[in-house]
């Protein structure tokens, strides 16, 4: 089976709208989570969010798209997708090649149009520009049609592990010879839908989130899009390569619809399976970008699973302390940050950590520092017990 390489990256998050801006914020320990998010929700100003400070209208102008049915989610995806494709130097003609696949992930999709949809679903109407864009598939059908893509295309929704599964699926399309190139990633915009959902679950923190801290009090929601261009040996030739995707595994925790088992069975199996796919031992992993949402449940379950699997715990951190939890985008965003760590041989500081969880005694990376990294693991877990771990490896 072909090896799979990352040849292009595009990302937009609360840390910035380019890869360089994102790295700069990580290097400087500068979080994008703030109480000042400009947002159409009653929780704006009272809860912190990792918002992207660009109004949807600005994108409409930039991309010259006036159709009201193209949503904020689709604009975020378009931004990151375009950057990834440009970074990998894929031409417009190359994108139309039937051997180029598109595998996207989102959990919000067009549901960011809460108020508009409410009107159109509760009052009689003869067609509305929003109707064809409310679902999750709309985001990638938009990209597919805008770029005239003819290869395999799909959308995955496994809640908060969605885009890690998109990366895994894209890599497997290449390895099984069903695509030569796969553009993979995830997108979610901040929406009343998810804000109120997570609020109802009582897992939103009123302060900046504190991954793996004893006194963590929940997560902050964020918005982001990240796309990666994956290429097999057939097309990669002498292209710039960021990293190789060597390991992946999807496992189910099979415990509860919205909580992980305390021993972290699903997370354990996902991490262990990713090591097996990569042909690596736990001691080969040089650092872990954890799921680390900072909820009571996640950090304890993930921590216990890590302690069980790794005889000696590698350095770990949660970049959700910078971006907030970007849900369907999180797997791809954190894959990008893991790749940045590999490419620049550096670790970023996990923010807002004070005291370890008493039983676990685990301390995330506290200061930005150089670090030799051959293999990095990135974890993503979601509601419904959907757990996925990825391993990226240094090719230099």
């Amino acid at each position: 089976m072909s090896r799979v390489f990352v040849t292009g990256i595009g990302i937009i998050s609360a840390l910035g709208s380019t890869l360089a801006e994102n790295r700069s914020a990580l290097l400087n320990g500068k979080s994008g989570i703030s109480l000042n998010a400009s947002l159409s929700s009653r929780y704006a100003g009272t809860l912190p969010f990792g918002a992207i400070g660009i109004d949807t209208g600005q994108w409409r102008e930039k991309f010259r798209i006036s159709h009201p049915g193209i949503t904020r989610t689709s604009f975020l995806a378009l931004h990151a997708f375009s950057d990834a494709v440009a970074d990998a130097e894929l031409s417009a003609a190359a994108l139309r090649d039937p051997r180029v696949a598109l595998v996207g992930a989102t959990t919000v999709g067009g549901m960011c149009l809460t108020d508009e949809l409410y009107r159109d679903t509760t009052e009689p109407c003869d067609g509305s520009p929003y109707l064809s864009s409310f679902d999750c598939a709309s985001v990638h059908l938009f990209l597919q049609s805008r770029f005239g893509m003819t290869g395999l295309a799909t959308t995955i929704n496994t809640a908060c592990s969605s885009s890690a599964n998109a990366i895994q699926y894209g890599a497997r399309l290449i390895r099984n010879g069903l695509a030569a190139t796969a553009i993979v990633g995830g997108t979610d915009s901040l929406a009343k839908f998810t804000i109120n959902g997570f609020h109802a679950l009582q897992i939103l923190s009123t302060a900046a989130c504190r991954p793996f801290d004893r006194d963590r009090a929940g997560l902050n929601l964020g918005e982001a899009a990240a796309f990666l261009v994956l290429e097999g040996e057939e097309t990669v030739a002498d292209k710039k390569v960021y990293a190789e995707l060597t390991g992946y595994c999807n496992s189910n925790d099979a415990f509860h619809p919205s909580a992980l088992s305390l021993r972290g069975d699903g997370p354990f199996l996902a991490m262990e399976g990713a090591l097996q796919t990569a042909g690596l031992e736990p001691t080969d992993i040089d650092f872990i970008n954890t799921h680390g949402t900072a909820t009571e449940n996640n950090d304890e379950a993930e921590g216990r699973a890590m302690l069980r699997l790794f005889p000696e715990l590698p350095p770990f951190l949660s970049t959700k302390s910078y971006t907030g939890h970007t849900l369907g985008a999180a797997g791809a965003v954190e894959a990008v940050y893991s790749i940045l760590s590999i490419r620049h041989q550096e670790l970023y500081a996990s923010l807002n950590f004070g005291e370890p969880i008493p039983d676990l005694g685990m301390r995330p990376v506290q200061a930005c520092q150089p670090h030799a990294i051959r293999h990095a693991m990135s974890n993503s877990f979601g509601f419904g017990g959907n757990c996925t771990s990825l391993i990226f490896s240094n090719v230099n």
Partner: protein, 334 residues
């Protein structure tokens, strides 16, 4: 090699023996079973699509699949819109999380994992009219990657009030009542709405299998030439014994089905199935179930053109909203 071993289906029909049930107000609603085996308190919280998906999959769980793959075009749309409306009506006040958690599209696959304590591969595809095909393609990769293992693959969608309103407003359903009329003779735009769940056990073992899935092609976009190229590539000169056509009575879609029919040999029979299941994003899962369960003598209501030979090779062509095309080539095993 990908083989189908077990099938299970919840559809608007009571099997294939009786005369088909027609639509009421242009809706073909699924006949739901008693759902024994799902705890009552769990059942009450489930949306119809989750119930149908789990109800169809339950009889197959005894075959201990190694993973669960679900395609759903609408996902938990009914619950999503219900939650969204609560957000507005209560002005983002205190809401209960149940509707939110149930509304996630991965509820079917994850509830199945929970019910049978399956910690294996678990995934949900939501790309509208090709959601089920993405799951099938995934299974085709999984059997290559993990020889000897079995996979539960399903396609599930419900008619939700919201979706029907949305799509009716967009012109996807007929304005005139089709009760008692022939769907395929209708000359107007739009079709009838349907729903259902069809679930399969797939693996790489030929012995004991009902059907082999030889090839899957999903040519993208509004491109006649692309469809023709994909179909020629799929058939490699052979002519299937039967075309199972997703023709749905929408006058605007007819040309796509004509293109595929015109590429069949004169001996290829043509059968249609949307009068049985209605139109929905994962209707091709029903078509696959039908292909696996066809009686030796095909009922008259299925036939557009009778086949000339025993059914060995069956081609399913389905088209969702003109831009999503699915071609599945099957081989019936003796």
């Amino acid at each position: 090699m990908l083989y189908i071993h077990q099938t299970s289906c919840i559809s608007p029909q009571n099997g294939l023996d009786s005369l088909p049930k027609g639509p009421v107000n242009n809706l073909l609603k699924a006949i739901e079973p008693q759902y024994g085996g799902i705890p009552g308190n769990v059942l009450r919280r489930m949306s119809k699509s989750v119930k149908m998906g789990i109800g169809a999959a339950l009889p197959l769980l005894k075959h201990s699949p190694d993973g669960i793959l679900i395609g759903t075009g609408y996902g938990g749309m009914e619950d999503s819109v219900r939650f969204l409306n609560q957000i507005i009506e209560y002005d983002e006040g205190i809401l209960t999380p149940g509707t939110f958690v149930q509304s996630t599209a991965n509820a079917i696959a994850s509830q199945l994992g929970l019910l049978c304590h399956n910690r294996g591969y678990n995934i949900t595809f939501v790309n509208r009219g090709l959601a089920f095909e993405s799951a099938l393609l995934d299974a085709a990769m999984l059997v290559r990657e993990h020889p000897g293992k079995s996979w539960l693959v399903g396609g599930v969608d419900e008619i939700s009030t919201q979706n029907y309103r949305f799509e009716y407003a967009e012109g996807w359903y007929k304005k005139e009542d089709l009760t008692g009329k022939d769907l395929y003779r209708s000359d107007t735009p739009g079709t009838i709405a349907g729903e259902g769940a069809a679930v399969f056990i797939l693996n790489d073992r030929r012995e004991g299998a009902l059907m082999r899935i030889r090839k899957i092609a999903l040519p993208g976009g509004d491109d006649e030439h692309g469809l023709q190229t994909a179909l020629s590539g799929l058939l490699e000169g052979m002519s299937p014994d039967l075309l199972l056509s997703g023709e749905n009575g929408d006058s605007r879609a007819r040309n796509w089905y004509r293109i595929v029919e015109s590429m069949m040999g004169p001996d290829t029979g043509i059968a249609r199935f949307k009068h049985l299941c209605g139109e929905y994003p994962t209707a091709s899962a029903f078509a696959l179930w039908l292909a696996c369960n066809l009686p030796d003598t095909l009922p008259e209501h299925l036939l557009k053109r009778p086949p000339h030979s025993a059914l060995r090779h069956i081609l399913i062509y389905n088209n969702y909203k003109f831009t999503q095309h699915s071609l599945i080539l099957l081989e019936r095993l003796p």
